[in-house]
Symmetry: none
Subunit: 272 residues, 3 copies
């Protein structure tokens, strides 16, 4: 059974589904942990919106930037095709340009997994949205709000996400507002998820159909890129070690780690 399981795991790792699922799962767990430890709505007039929006948007932005920056491929592509500082030695063929676009789209897709998961989870949970939107709810239809001043009403509304003490007749209103906000937040979450799914589907269809490579060629090319990186790193490592060994040999008269040291050389001042 173990080779079959290993095959499944390795093919999952290769196909990218596994990595994407792992990123999404980590984001979901991180969001739940983070939110339970740090989030507490200020419940003061004029602050709820900024606080809730910050928790909603800023982590998503940071995850997006991190998703781009952590992929080393981005840097190699950008230095290959976009930097005009380095002198150009070889012509870039149209096929190479299209392949670079394809790789860039793939990286964008991978980088968007975490922020979109963050947004979807926070919207489906609804706590951040509830805090951010608490001041903007309209309560004109409730009779108990008709004889309070505007500032007092704003204060009561801002206190809704905290279960602050309030006139006892406001309690059912708070519950209705909480359900309304949860409804809005989760519907927004569903809309986001649906749109994302449709866009992913259409774009991957287009990328596959109008790609310059057939399915088998794409498979070969992906493997080729991975192998090229691996073997190049291995060869560069060895090349660098051999070069340094030769230089050290010249300087000290023996290889580091060699067992039979015939004679050693005391380097002169010019050698350093």
């Amino acid at each position: 059974m173990s080779p079959t399981l290993q095959d499944i795991v390795s093919s999952l790792q290769r196909s990218g589904t596994f990595v994407n699922s792992l990123i999404a799962a980590l984001t979901i767990c991180g969001q739940q942990l983070f939110s339970s430890f740090t989030f507490s709505c200020p419940c003061q007039v004029g602050k709820n919106f900024y606080y809730g929006s910050a928790f909603l948007v800023i982590p998503a932005l940071i995850l997006l930037i991190a998703g781009y920056a952590l992929r080393s491929q981005v840097w190699s592509i950008s230095s290959e095709y976009c930097c005009s500082c380095a002198p150009r030695h070889r012509r870039v063929t149209p096929l190479e340009r299209r392949l670079a676009c394809l790789r860039f789209l793939g990286i964008t897709g991978r980088a968007l997994v975490a922020p979109l998961t963050w947004l979807a989870v926070t919207l489906l949970t609804g706590t951040y949205y509830e805090c951010a939107a608490s001041e903007f709810v309209s309560v004109d239809q409730y009779p108990m709000f008709s004889n309070v001043t505007d500032s007092k009403r704003e204060e009561i509304l801002a206190g809704f996400p905290c279960y602050k003490e309030a006139p006892s007749d406001v309690d059912p209103v708070r519950e209705e507002v909480a359900l309304l906000h949860r409804y809005q937040s989760q519907m927004l979450g569903w809309i986001l998820i649906t749109l994302t799914t449709i866009i992913v589907l259409v774009s991957s269809c287009l990328a596959r159909c109008c790609s310059p490579l057939t399915s088998l060629q794409h498979h070969y090319w992906t493997n080729h890129l991975r192998n090229e990186r691996e073997l190049f790193e291995q060869a560069a490592e060895e090349h660098s070690r051999i070069l340094i060994r030769q230089r050290i040999k010249k300087l000290f008269g023996f290889f580091p780690g060699s067992t039979d040291v015939k004679h050693i050389r005391i380097p002169s001042c010019q050698d350093w």
Copy 2:
């Protein structure tokens, strides 16, 4: 005992029953977890239906799309037979076309497992349906609803799934309505399950009987496809490695991993 168990497990994995059961079990667990954490009916006029329907339909749609998109075979079939962007190099024989249809039907069957499980579980549980249908129940036969206005009646009906406070004579009506909705939801679930089973049975009968392949041929063909993929991947991997080794040899002057390095080459600036 262990070899027999291994045989059973491997034959299960090959036949697809195991994978389908795993998908269905994961969907059931996921639905129960998801529903207990996020679902709370808004209980406000005009919102219940959209909220309940969104929770009922959108996850099923997303599971369907994901089920298609995660199968790499879909892409290879679609790029082989459907894409008109790529130039056509070889004629597709009628037998190949029918085999592609057969494979596509198999993938559709696999992709439908998760969404149909989602729909069946949610309908048999009944919570989502209860929320979505709460506003459309007819209560004309109950005497306590005859002397309330239409808007008030709608409000009471929308509040049924939340156990909101209401006039005390409405409580037995709420219980009857809850039982009625649960009955409708579960009967819909049973109808869905029965129809699905019949369709699966009939279509697999037809696929087997009118297939261009006999049972043994089908078995051979399935194995052939798997072997083709495996061996092609192996050959492509080796081909790619040999190609890269030759390039590295040209650049650095030695193969990576070779033990007897005669001389190395320091690459010039043009080589990079």
Copy 3:
């Protein structure tokens, strides 16, 4: 002790008793879990019967169909002997026809284990039957039902499985009806179990006695079928691998896994 235990287990696995017991135990556990989570009788006139019957019959039907469909032997037998779509190449001898009947009966026996277990467990538990039969009980002998209208009587009867509030003099009638239904349901369950046992005994006697094969022949024939499948799969696997190797040789210029690669070939675009 361990080899003896292994022998017992392996002989159990071969004889089918082990698998049948496993299926029955899984069905019993599944029924109890499923029923405790989802079943709640609607208790409304005209709905109880359909609800109870659906829970009683549909799962049994689905288990029966699944039991047939999951056995790959069914498909090979049906495509060999029943399909008229495929052209007939060889005559089927009467002996072959009788052997196919024997195999089909064996598969039917295995497929009937789960649905019969489901029916027996639900009838012995009695909840589903109580719901389905609640409207059809005759209560003419009770004096308190003589002065209520027919529609009211139907409503009271339909409410019996739910312990709805009712006139207090109906309570003892409800208890008597519940005992009566439980009696009927459990007697039906016992009759089903007894009939099944007798049919299994008689049919296995007949199958052994009137079989065209003696006991030794039957043993030989079972082994022959298993060996045929195994050897055929082995040969098909080898044939397929050789075919694919030749194609890959044409594309890449070398066999995968060969040690002495003279020269490789870079495939042109037309090859893919």
